[in-house]
Amino acid sequence: MKKLYITKKYKIRNKIQAKNSLKRRLAFKVHKRQKNISELGISEPELEHKRKFEDPYKDYKKIHAPSKLSFIENSSEVVEFIDKLKKHYDLKSKVFVVLKDVKEISYDAIVVLLSIMVKFKSNKIKFNGDFPKDPEARKILDESQFLKYLFQQFKESDRYSLGQRSSIHTHAWKDVDSELGSELIRQASKTIWGEERRCQGVQRTLIELMLNTNNHADDEKKGEKYWWISVHHDKENEKVSFAFIDFGVGIFTSLNNKRNGSKFYGVLEKVKERFKYGNNADLLRLILDGTVHKTATNRPYHGKGLPGINMALNRNQISNLNIITNNVHANIDNLDFKIMSNSFSGTFVYWEVNKTNINSHGITRN
C-alpha cells in the first residue's frame, strides 16, 4: 500500500486536493473575518435576535411577481416577470419570488410558476418564494400545490406530474403523449358533463401543441424542450381550462430561423411580398387561417399545425383560445391580436372546454 502513496498519480492527486482544501479554508477565513467585523460591537442578545429574524434569503435575488399574475389579462407584465427569472436562471443565481403583493392569480399563471420553479430546482439553482397575502390568490396557489413543491427537490427528469390529487394537474414531457391527452380529456369530461366523453378537438389541440414543441421549439434539435400543461377543473361552472407552455424560441423566431430544405424556408419573405402584413400580430392571423402554410407549400391547406387548433375553435370544439408567443398576444375568440411591449421566448396557449363544446359519447376501452 505504501508504495502506492509514492506513485506519481497519487502525488498529483494529493497536490490537487491540498490546493483545493487550502483554497476553501482561506475563503472561509475571509468570510469569518468579514462576519466578525460586521458583528463588532453588537451584544449577544442582539446577535441572537439577528440570527432568528434576519432574512434567511438575503443573498437571493428578489423578483417581484406582478400584482395581477395572469398571463392572459396581464401578458406584458408576466412576460417581463418571466424574462427577469430567465436572466437569473441563465446566470445560475439564486432567486426568491416575491408573491406577497399579488392580489390576483389566474389559473393560466400556475403553469408558468410551476414550470419555472421545476426548471430552477432540477438544475440545482436555489429557488424560493413567499405566498400572497390575498386569501383568494393564496387559495389558488394552494390548490396547485405550488407551496408544497417549493420545498421539494427535483431531479432532471424526463417527465413531471404535479398536483395529481388537486383541481389543478400539471404535466411536463418532451415527447408527444396522446394517451396523456386522452386521460386529461376523460377527467375533464367528468367535470363538465358528469361522465366520460371524448373531445376530438381538444385531443387535436394537445397533439399539435406537443408536436410543435417537439419539432420546432429548439432550432437545433428535435425533442429538446419541455412542454408543460396545467389543467384546472372548475366544478362549479362545469368548465375546464387548459394552459400549455413551452420555453422554446416562439412561433415567429422559429419561422424566421427555418433552414434551407424546410418547406417553410423563406416563407416570410413570400408572405410579406404577397400579403403586405404589418407586424407579427397580422402574421399570426395569416398563420392561423392557413395562408402561411398555403404560401409555403403552394397547396390547399388541410388543417395542419396551428391552423388545426384554430379550426377546432371554429368548429366549437374548444372555447376562449388565447395564444401568446414572442411579441404577440392573440385572443382568437374576440379576434383581438395585440403587439406586446415585451417579447416572450416561447409559446403559451390557453383554452377552455365547457358544456356547449362539441364532444362524442362512447368510450369503450378493452
Binding site: 386522452s182 376530438q200 397533439i207
Partner: protein, 114 residues
C-alpha cells in the same frame, strides 16, 4: 365487392399519436408500417376493397393521418391510383377527416411526381 376492414380504435390504438415513432407512442409511422401497409398490400394483391374506420378514437393530430396515408405513396411507393381504387374511409364523428385523408394522398402523389 369483398372488403377488408381496419378500425383504428380496435386494431391499433384509441389514442393515435404523432407522425414519427421517435416523437411518441402510437405514431402514424407505426400504424402505417404495422397495420395499414400490410393490409393494403393484401387488398391490392387480391383486388378487394379496404375500409378504414376512423371513428371511436380520442381524436387525431393531422400529422398522424398525413404520415399514415401520405406515407403509403411517399415511403411504401404504392400507386395513388391503386390506393384510390380500393380505399374507403369511414368517419362519422369527424366527417371532415375523409376529405383531409384524400387530400393528403393527392398531395403525396403530386409531390412524388415532381
Amino acid at each position: 365487392m369483398e372488403s377488408l376492414e381496419i378500425k383504428i380504435a380496435r386494431d391499433f390504438s384509441f389514442s393515435p399519436g404523432p407522425r414519427y415513432i421517435d416523437e411518441g407512442k402510437n405514431s402514424g409511422e407505426q400504424f402505417r408500417k404495422h397495420v395499414l401497409y400490410p393490409k393494403f398490400k393484401e387488398a391490392i394483391k387480391t383486388n378487394i376493397k379496404i375500409v378504414v374506420d376512423l371513428d371511436g378514437t380520442d381524436g387525431y393530430g393531422t400529422s398522424f393521418l398525413e404520415e399514415a396515408f401520405g406515407g403509403l405513396i411517399r415511403i411504401d411507393k404504392l400507386s395513388y391510383e391503386e390506393i384510390i381504387k380500393c380505399l374507403k374511409i369511414i368517419s362519422k364523428e369527424e366527417n371532415y377527416l375523409i376529405d383531409d385523408v384524400f387530400e393528403y394522398l393527392k398531395d403525396a402523389h403530386e409531390e412524388s411526381a415532381k
